[in-house]
């Protein structure tokens, strides 16, 4: 059946809910993997057993597992993820404070990735079948395989320490807090670090998509009309080849979030990745759970956004199976 756009979006939202539920469950059991419980990790072993019991009671750790699970789900749905041990603030407040920074970084990386990816893919249209095209393809695979944090280290070494073009860490210089140009300068290297391997992956997909579209009959028709090549590429090939690009950009959200983890640590970018790593070293369990959960939600929303964008561009996709 054919869905109108709002119905399609609603249906996709309906699919997200069980996913969210599953995510909450996974995170809950993740925390139960720990031998013993949070009190073992936080309290010195010399503390008397009675105090420990009292704390267990206070945290609700003495209640049956099902009870804990239900109350975790219930409070999580209300937006209450507990209180961070190290910051003495609600986990949601802490995460909300840094999430925008990560989204800025992720957005910039995505932008660079798409532009770079498309630019690297376009040569296939006129190099098709030549040796140079093969070389480019190998090069793209090579770049795709390079670990992004190593790229980051090299960028840092060359452009920050040797050439001194870009700052090496943080979001703003201490004296220029809030200045936009300063933010861009700080953004370039981390965004490139995430974007370079991702752009290679995207270019590889885009290439096969472009090749497919190029073989379609309407392209042949446009060519037979004698339209100039740039016009054919711009108005006929690119719009039709864009669909897998958007789908991939949705999937790329997961890759971006993973990249963020390492890249933010590398560049001391005050975002989710750095927060997670800090939380782990500080054994801040509620914060760790919150971070994993939010990362999952961000990826789910990214996928949803990509699907919706695709459905807007290509009404055929709104058909249900």
């Amino acid at each position: 059946m054919f869905n109108s756009l709002p119905t399609y979006i609603l249906r996709r939202l309906g699919e997200i809910l069980p996913l969210l539920f599953g995510l909450l469950t996974v995170v809950f059991f993740l925390a139960r993997l720990m031998p013993g419980d949070a009190t073992d990790a936080l309290i010195s072993p010399t503390i008397p057993a009675s105090v420990r019991e009292q704390l267990r009671e206070q945290f609700g750790l003495d209640r049956p597992l099902v009870d804990q699970y239900v109350s975790w789900i219930r409070s999580a749905l209300r937006g209450d993820l507990g209180v961070s041990f190290t910051r003495a603030e609600p986990v949601t407040t802490v995460i909300a404070g840094v999430l925008p920074n990560t989204l800025v970084l992720g957005g910039a990386a995505l932008l660079i990735e798409v532009v770079l990816g498309v630019l690297l893919a376009l040569p296939v249209l006129w190099l098709h079948g030549t040796r140079r095209e093969q070389l480019l393809s190998r090069l793209l695979l090579g770049v795709y395989a390079i670990p992004s944090f190593w790229i980051g280290m090299i960028l840092l070494m060359v452009f920050s320490y040797w050439l001194g073009w870009f700052p090496s860490s943080q979001m703003y210089s201490s004296d220029q807090y809030g200045s936009f140009s300063n933010l861009i300068a700080h953004l370039v290297l981390p965004a490139l670090t995430i974007a370079i391997p991702a752009a290679a992956a995207l270019a590889r997909y885009m290439r096969s998509s472009l090749q497919n579209v190029q073989r379609q009959e309407f392209v042949l028709f446009a060519r037979s009309l004698g339209l100039p090549r740039t016009k054919i590429v711009r108005s006929y090939i690119l719009p039709n080849a864009a669909s897998p690009l958007i789908a991939l950009a949705g999937v790329e959200f997961g890759v971006l979030m993973t990249g963020v983890l390492v890249t933010e640590t590398l560049y001391s970018w005050p975002g989710m990745g750095q927060l997670t790593v800090h939380a782990i070293f500080a054994r801040d369990y509620p914060l760790i759970m919150g971070c994993v959960l939010v990362a999952g939600v961000v990826v789910a929303i990214g996928n949803l956004a990509a699907d919706v964008a695709n459905a807007i561009l290509d009404p055929r996709l709104r058909f249900t199976r």
Partner: protein, 404 residues
């Protein structure tokens, strides 16, 4: 036709012979200790068991692989290769690094944890020259267990009871050691780190750790993924739905976040890292196998087998698994690359392999502090890691013959 594999294999042979010449003492001691221990085991099992040392096994395995690898290399040079055997650069690189990882005690000039003389060998740039002083503990008593036992004692002493110290070349005159000391020149091919340790040795021993973890994790992922895929593809609609929903769920969580989160809650050990990497890498394989099984299930030869009344297990193992095998091998290769990368990321963050045990990831993590005045610390380990990953992807792509 000329032999296509010649140049790469010749370079390999040259390096092999050079290393054999340079490290003949350790290689010889390993072979002798293995042979004499074997002889003792035949003559007097009880005393052989008494003298067995666990540390020797590493050298014995390395020695066996060293000899076997050398024989294979020579044979491949002598024999005219047919088309299938032609060695490509990517494969040669992987084989070479794998071989170096297995025979790390011979390939690495010094042990990866040997600290240099801090004043002179700290942060030396690549291709610096140095001297390694090997001090062997003096033989406590003269054994009278026959020449076999004596040879074993002498050779295993060289392998186990020795201490090494590394100096920069200029410093060589002021050396003294107790017992039996031998000085040999070494080259810090990749420079030295902040503790004066040889980076090349650490990269070689790191290869061992990183690749072992990657291999184990990839194997685990393939096992889980394949069983999930087979179960979903053959187990009927309900099971299929449940398993695939679960797969989707696992896919929707950024895997590194999940691993990192889990490692925070679990006791940190190599086994935990391997298990977590295996557990977060199976989803793609499960989907791949399921799709393939669904396709194969409708093929005529499967229908024929079913009509013949074969049990579903027999159909699975005789008719479906052979068709999926090749796909699985390629998937395993990519999974191996993914696991090596994930391990590197984890150790880079300080959550995976803990120093002083070297792994490619924690070498890079440690290099971060010296990015300004020790470029070789990040370039070389990362370069080897990147080379391995690139080679793996190229080999995998050639196998599939299409895009990933």
């Amino acid at each position: 036709m000329t032999r296509a594999s010649s140049p790469i294999a010749l370079i390999g042979l040259a390096i092999y012979l050079l290393l054999t010449f340079m490290r003949y003492e350790v290689i010889g001691a390993s072979l002798i200790s293995m042979a004499t221990w074997g002889a003792m085991l035949l003559v007097d099992p009880f005393s052989a068991g008494e003298k067995w040392q666990f540390e020797l096994v590493e050298y014995w395995i390395a020695a066996v692989i060293w000899v076997a690898g050398g024989l294979h290399l020579v044979r491949s040079l002598v024999r005219r290769p047919n088309g299938r055997q032609r060695l490509r650069t990517a494969e040669a690189l992987l084989i070479g690094i794998g071989f170096a990882a297995l025979t790390a005690p011979f390939v690495a000039p010094v042990s990866p944890v040997v600290q240099g003389d801090l004043l002179t060998t700290r942060l030396l740039p690549p291709v610096s020259f140095g001297i390694c002083i090997t001090t062997t503990e003096p033989l406590d008593t003269l054994h009278s267990g026959g020449w076999i036992a004596d040879a074993f004692a002498a050779s295993s002493r060289i392998l186990v009871h020795r201490s090494e110290k590394v100096f920069a070349r200029a410093d060589g005159s002021s050396l003294h050691g107790e017992g039996h000391s031998i000085a040999r020149p070494i080259v810090f091919l990749f420079g030295t780190d902040d503790s004066g340790r040889d980076v090349f040795s650490r990269v070689i021993f790191g290869a061992r750790v990183s690749m072992a973890i990657g291999l184990a994790a990839a194997l685990g992922s393939v096992l889980i993924g394949a069983s999930m895929g087979f179960a979903a593809g053959l187990g009927g609609r309900v099971l299929d739905t449940i398993l695939m929903r679960f797969t989707d769920l696992m896919l929707s969580i950024p895997s590194l976040f999940l691993v990192v989160g889990a490692l925070a809650f679990l006791p940190s050990s190599l086994v935990t890292v391997i298990l977590m990497l295996a557990w977060t890498g199976w989803m793609g394989i499960a989907r791949l196998v399921r799709a393939e099984v669904l396709r194969l299930r409708e093929q005529e030869f499967v229908l024929a087998a079913r009509l013949l009344g074969h049990s579903s297990l027999r159909i699975l193992f005789r008719h479906i698994v052979p068709h999926v095998k090749d796909l699985l091998l390629t998937a395993a290769m990519l999974q191996f690359a993914g696991a090596v990368l994930a391990e590197a990321s984890l150790s880079f963050l300080g959550l995976g392999v803990q120093p002083p045990t070297p792994s490619w990831g924690n070498l890079l993590g440690q290099a971060l502090a010296y990015i300004r005045n020790g470029w070789w610390l990040s370039i070389f380990p990362g370069g080897v890691l990147a080379a391995v990953l690139i080679a793996l992807f190229h080999v995998a792509e050639r196998r599939t013959g299409a895009s990933l």
